[in-house]
Symmetry: C2
Subunit: 251 residues, 2 copies
DNA sequence: ACAAAAGTGTTTTGGGTACACCCATGT
DNA sequence: ACATGGGTGTACCCAAAACACTTTTGT
């Protein structure tokens, strides 16, 4: 049996040795911005440390990086067809060796001591995530209270958050985190959660009312004990047709 | 003699097999935006094709990606301490195989058929480049007339140009392309070259006069056959102290 | 009736944009 | 004297920001 024959039979496809993808998965739930972190038990010096890291994985030989990111997302949340976006590459030759116990933990999991990682971020609506498909060691942490993460993952998170905020002002990303039909107040609260601020309701509405791709539906909220709000939906086609270079989503 | 002993003696350090850096080196000369491209002679089917590509290189085992980019810049232009910035990763598994003759050419130069490349861009003032240190096969091409490049390099160039324009509106990058002391008209012409447009002189000046880190010097142009212009310099420290999240360089 | 969120207009302020003439220098 | 680019001010319009009350529903 040749080596290539053996390779074909191996279930886990071959991965590239010195490159990986790490994902910052942002979630939105109860007007709060969350981030998915994974718990790991790290044995070191006869102790076991409870640590947290971002989900990540190796890149398979025949996949694009965004496919790696989509795969990580599926593994962690069960969701498919989710928006993912690369934001920065982290290439410090010592990035895995900043704390000895982290490196001891990761050593048997990598093929080369040098691993360059490409950071991706992703947006999911937490209510779409079936808690049974969320892997057991995953946890939705408050984005404003991220604890110490392993390796350079705090840095990766910080860069992802910066990029998320920038992109939200320049692309219609918010609709990845909103339900199909949403109220303007829901949209406003989402921006407030991500930018950690508050906006004036009237000014906010004046601004978003200029967006032709925000479609007011002939439908209102039901089951709320106050005046029901009008529902809106996002029309991607209108956005694609009418977008201009300089447009931004700032309010 | 052990393998590791041999490795120590090899002059060219070991490089990572599946990752490379490609550089889009922007230059500015005579109010024109240029890009450095390399000429390659590509033998294929008993013919020799003259082709062009972006400069690139493998990543050494102990260097950060930005060090790889700086090394490429030094090799191509002789310049050191130049601004470089990563902008996007290109990971199409077939990116080297889009044209058969390109792949035949590159095959003996790579360690693995799959190479993911990280795009960096860089800014140099072409008059700083000694033509004797510019490598022979390099050429400053007009950024608006880029010919067919090898592999996915047209795509890499397009993305670099997009990112350059974005960054120029949000960071004080222009000063990387301007001489130490410059006139406001020189600065305006630079933006006009990069954005391929023209601006109103009075409005442009009103805008840049609000930038506290643009220092008017007690010095004017000499040797020009018209009213000599005032010279300005850029004060990085003032910029760092006074920059705000939302500021932009749009005019 | 009350609680809770929806929905709506006006004023002020500052920035963007459009536009034309005189000035200082070298030849 | 002339050619060349340097340098300046004003008017209009629109967007940003600050600000408070009425409406509709469920309980």
């Amino acid at each position: 049996m040749t080596v290539s024959k053996i390779k074909e039979l191996v279930i886990i496809p071959e991965t590239l040795p010195t490159i990986s993808v790490d994902c910052v998965i942002f979630g939105y739930e109860e007007n709060k911005l969350k981030v998915l972190v994974r718990r790991e038990f790290v044995p070191f010096n006869d102790e076991v440390f409870l640590e947290w890291k971002l989900p990540g994985n190796h890149v398979r030989r025949n996949e694009e990086l965004c496919e790696t990111a989509a795969r990580i997302l599926k593994e962690q949340t069960g969701l498919e067809n989710i928006f993912v976006k690369q934001f920065l590459v982290f290439s410090d030759p010592n990035r895995l060796k900043r704390r000895e116990r982290d490196y001891e933990w990761v050593k048997p999991r990598i093929q080369d001591e040098r691993v360059i990682t490409v950071g991706f971020y992703s947006l999911v609506n937490v209510i779409d995530v079936d808690n049974s498909t969320l892997v057991e060691d995953a946890n939705w942490a408050n984005a404003y209270e991220i604890k110490d993460l392993m390796f350079d993952h705090n840095e990766i998170f910080d860069e992802a958050f910066k990029k998320l905020r920038y992109d939200l002002l320049h692309e219609p990303l918010a609709f990845e985190l909103l339900p199909e039909k949403f109220t303007l107040t829901q949209m406003q609260k989402l921006y407030e959660a991500i930018f950690n601020t508050t906006y004036d309701k009237r000014n906010y509405r004046r601004k978003v009312n200029k967006m032709s791709y925000l479609i007011p539906l002939d439908e209102i909220q039901t089951g709320v004990s106050h005046k029901p709000a009008r529902l809106y939906s996002y029309d991607r086609e209108i956005y694609e047709k009418t977008r201009t270079e300089r447009f931004d989503f700032r309010v």
